[in-house]
């Protein structure tokens, strides 16, 4: 079967609809992952052993199981206990939780990398715990984390096609429905691949810039 440019232009508007949802899901998922990751990182540092152990185990569990199954779990199991989520919301929660366990490690490394002297200086200046975090630790811990966080957000972006399995109409799902309608797979699936490749090549450039700007962090 030949590559048909006319067909490509015909399906382009549908695919662009999907691109919008893909980008929306990535952005919302990133915000959620950043928040969830911070929560996990802080909970694991908590002096309360039960809390830190439980959260640690849960994070380990989420990281050791496939995102696809977690999405199914959120989408199919939660309605049984009365929580009915629209597909996109379920997908964003899945992405955010899954990648939150990864970003938690970035936060952990970032916070651990703040030298001990800074904590001691904060104590010597009689700052409260809250003041220490907001004025001393976080401002120093965040910049080196940025490249590593961006790395995970790009990884998340590449996982968004999984959302098609729970009927989110993102790029992959649009491509599949186009392919099934016309029974032509070459153009839609290849275009999806090309789209992801182009975006990730650009994001490599962005990452290099972020690394130069904010310095690198051990991952």
């Amino acid at each position: 079967m030949e590559w048909d440019w006319n067909f490509v232009w015909e399906i382009m508007p549908t695919l662009i609809q999907g691109v919008k949802i893909t980008i929306l899901a990535t952005l919302l998922g990133s915000v959620l992952a950043a928040i969830v990751g911070l929560g996990i990182a802080l909970a694991r540092r908590s002096p309360n052993r039960t809390l830190s152990r439980t959260v640690g185990f849960l994070a380990e569990f989420i990281r050791g199981t496939p995102l696809l199954v977690q999405l199914y779990f959120i989408f199919y199991v939660l309605p049984d206990i009365g929580i009915l989520l629209p597909p996109l919301v379920a997908g964003v929660i899945g992405l955010g939780l899954h990648y939150g366990t990864y970003t938690a490690e970035v936060y952990r490394a970032g916070i651990d990398n703040v030298p001990r002297g800074q904590w001691e200086a904060a104590k010597a200046c009689n700052l409260s715990a809250r003041q220490t975090w907001t004025h001393i630790i976080i401002p120093q811990a965040i910049p080196p984390m940025i490249p590593a966080l961006a790395n995970y957000f790009i990884a998340m972006f590449k996982e968004t096609p999984l959302l098609s399995a729970i009927t989110v109409l993102e790029l992959m799902n649009q491509a599949k429905s186009v392919a099934n309608t016309y029974y032509r797979y070459i153009e839609p699936i290849t275009l999806v691949g090309a789209f992801f490749l182009v975006i990730s090549l650009f994001s490599v450039v962005l990452l290099r810039w972020l690394e130069r700007r904010y310095g690198k962090i051990e991952r």
């Binding site: 079967m1 050791g64 496939p66 199914y72 199919y76 992959m172 599949k176 797979y185 699936i189 490599v204």
Partner: protein, 219 residues
């Protein structure tokens, strides 16, 4: 009350498929990792360019898109793959690209003096690699290979979408037949987690074995 034993057999069959895929995918990934990882360090520009193109392509597009491409697009250009072949191919090539960077990093992490010692002992490029560099680099690669293998295990869930009867697929079957969602999805989440624990335990004990007698040698 649903008859769970029969369904549990179904899930176990799925687990076997998942394990089979993980093993075969890992073998292909390992092969590709060394091929592309060493290719990136080659003296010849063509080999370096090929290896870089392979790595960037497979890391830049998502595993899901690659799998669909292998399964739906390749038949149109005359290559028909069974779901299992397509799954192993996509998983192996994708994870191989990530692992290739691990191979490259590990080889480059070996100190300059080791290379100089190889030259001093009049070892050829290949001899030095085989007897001096690789045995040391392998130990550096191992922990990250373990993580890559877990990523591969998690990625196998995606093959359920091209009708391969793995754990996730069987869970969907059980869901469709019983209407129960909590039991099948919880079961497979736990099974995936156990498999991931097995991999990390296996890699750790392998690492201990290989590190035996190297205490004090390694920096």
């Amino acid at each position: 009350m649903t008859q769970w034993s029969g369904y549990f057999g179904l899930i176990l069959q799925g687990a076997l498929v998942t394990i089979e895929l993980t093993l075969m995918g890992s073998v292909l990934a390992l092969f590709m990792a060394f091929l592309a990882g060493m290719g990136r360090l080659s003296r010849f520009f063509v080999l370096r360019a090929l290896a870089t193109a392979y790595i960037e392509f497979f890391r830049g597009t998502s595993i899901f898109v690659q799998l669909f491409w292998a399964y739906f697009v390749l038949p149109f250009i005359g290559i028909s793959l069974t779901p299992l072949q397509a799954g192993v191919l996509a998983l192996g090539l994708n994870v191989g690209a990530y692992a290739a960077e691990v191979v490259r990093g590990a080889i480059q992490s070996i100190g300059r003096e080791q290379y100089e010692a190889c030259i001093a002992l009049n070892l050829g490029r290949w001899q030095g690699m085989r007897h001096i560099i690789l045995p040391q680099a392998l130990l550096v690669m191992l922990p990250t290979f373990g993580n890559n293998a877990i990523e591969l295990l998690k990625a196998t869930a995606v093959v359920s979408l091209i009708s391969l009867t793995d754990l996730t697929f069987q869970a969907q079957v059980v869901r469709a037949q019983t209407g129960n969602t909590l039991v099948p999805f919880s079961t497979i989440l736990i099974l995936y987690f156990i498999l991931a624990l097995l991999i990390s335990w296996g890699v750790r004990s392998l690492e201990r074995r290989m590190a035996r007698g190297l205490d004090g040698v390694r920096a």
